[in-house]
Assembly symmetry: C2
Homo-oligomer: 231 residues x 2
DNA sequence: ACCTGAACACCGTTCAAGT
DNA sequence: ACCTGAACACCGTTCAAGT
């Protein structure tokens, strides 16, 4: 009897098949997202990457939503929170933190979309919340307003990033966003002073302006609004 | 040879099989959404409802995103725009219009989620845009600010509704939202004055308050902010 | 306890072929 | 032009069975 000649060989066919673990799964998911995009971070595709079947992942992750939430929290580790402890105007520093958060989500808009629907509660997210609250407190925003302002600010940032998500099932090329924009632009051009006077009057101005400036203006609007609006 | 005995019978087995048309497809999609929810408004399920195969729908609708956009525009027909031409404070009337829009989306949060990603450009949507711009103009908001304010207001309303969307692939029962909330509440309770002082200080206040009041406050924050923030 | 094969119940979209 | 059957290439999740 020759001793099991296959078992040792098959073990060496792939570089390594490390034991599954939640952190390993999440790390692989992050890698997969960076290389192929969030739309490929599915239970099945991820299992394939980990050399196992999809069912195995359910031991460590409740479902796809939880997986995406874990990926998001991992990513949030690279939000720049240093402005919190830097000298300078509190509003400028708050906008800096929020901009860092938004930039990060812009790179992964699908994740922003998840965050909008599945309320995050990971450690990194809590760090971000703490940072925003600290700056609002420094600015003298009363606690009751700060609680709600926090949501407003993060929701604005998250939604703005989510708007750039590829639509589910869209072809990889994704001219789909440009098509939407063209359709809206055509509709605006189609407005006349008779039918839709406001639209006709504003015209191109309605669609103009770089996203960056709109984002910054939005943050300022929210901060000014919060300072002028008691609960 | 007996003459095709099956053909006439099969024609009468179902009440009627009307010819396909874009408006018929959209109308059926709206019905289907009201009876089974947006998650069931898929090309395949809709085709089944129309007694045909999914491929047939692609003659009238480019893809699923366009189908959902058409359903949304149909729904937008019931936004109450009468406050535009009513006497009274312009801000109150604007908030009334926006609240009507938001209430509508709250009933179909999945649609709000689509609207966030696929910019609407339907007739009903343009009517809403025109209404909001008319009220901003009445309030003396300069055109350049009004253009951006429009986006801010509609995005806030849409995102707030989208937050209540059921997560993709969640079980029908959907205790999933409550679970998220519990997780966040637990995380907030876990904050101490040492680790996350701001979070600990605000505590329950952070999660308190009815959605309705938060929404109304949010609209006021945006309006006050817009009035105080030049571009 | 952890892991898995296999199944269940679905998806969107395309395309060659028919009428 | 309009419509379709069939296929391609996927999904999430569960469950009984194995180790």
């Amino acid at each position: 009897m020759t001793a099991h000649p296959d078992a040792p060989r098959s073990r060496r066919e792939r570089p390594a098949k490390p034991a599954l673990s939640r952190s390993g799964i999440v790390a692989t998911a992050v890698e997969l997202m960076r290389s192929e995009g969030l739309q490929r971070v599915t239970m099945r595709r991820l299992a394939q990457e980990l050399d196992t079947g999809p069912a195995s992942l359910y031991v460590y992750v409740r479902n796809t939503a939880e997986l995406h939430a874990a990926v998001l929290d991992d990513l949030l580790g690279s939000v720049d929170l240093t402005p919190v402890t830097t000298p300078g105007d509190w509003q400028d520093r708050l906008v800096a933190v929020l901009t860092s958060y938004t930039d990060l989500l812009f790179a992964h808009p699908g994740l922003a979309q998840s965050a909008l629907v599945a309320r995050p509660s990971g450690e990194r997210y809590l760090d971000l919340v703490e940072a925003v609250l600290a700056l609002l407190a420094e600015g003298g925003v009363p606690g009751d307003r700060a609680s709600w302002a926090l949501d407003l600010l993060l929701q604005f940032a998250t939604a703005t990033a989510a708007e750039h998500a590829p639509r589910a099932g869209a072809a990889s090329g994704d001219g789909t966003r440009a098509e939407d924009w063209d359709a809206l632009a055509a509709a605006v051009r189609g407005a006349t002073a008779d039918t839709r006077p406001q639209l006709a009057a504003l015209g191109a101005d309605l669609l103009a302006g770089p996203g960056e400036a709109r984002l910054a203006w939005g943050f300022r609007v929210l901060l000014n609004g919060v300072l002028h609006t008691p609960r």
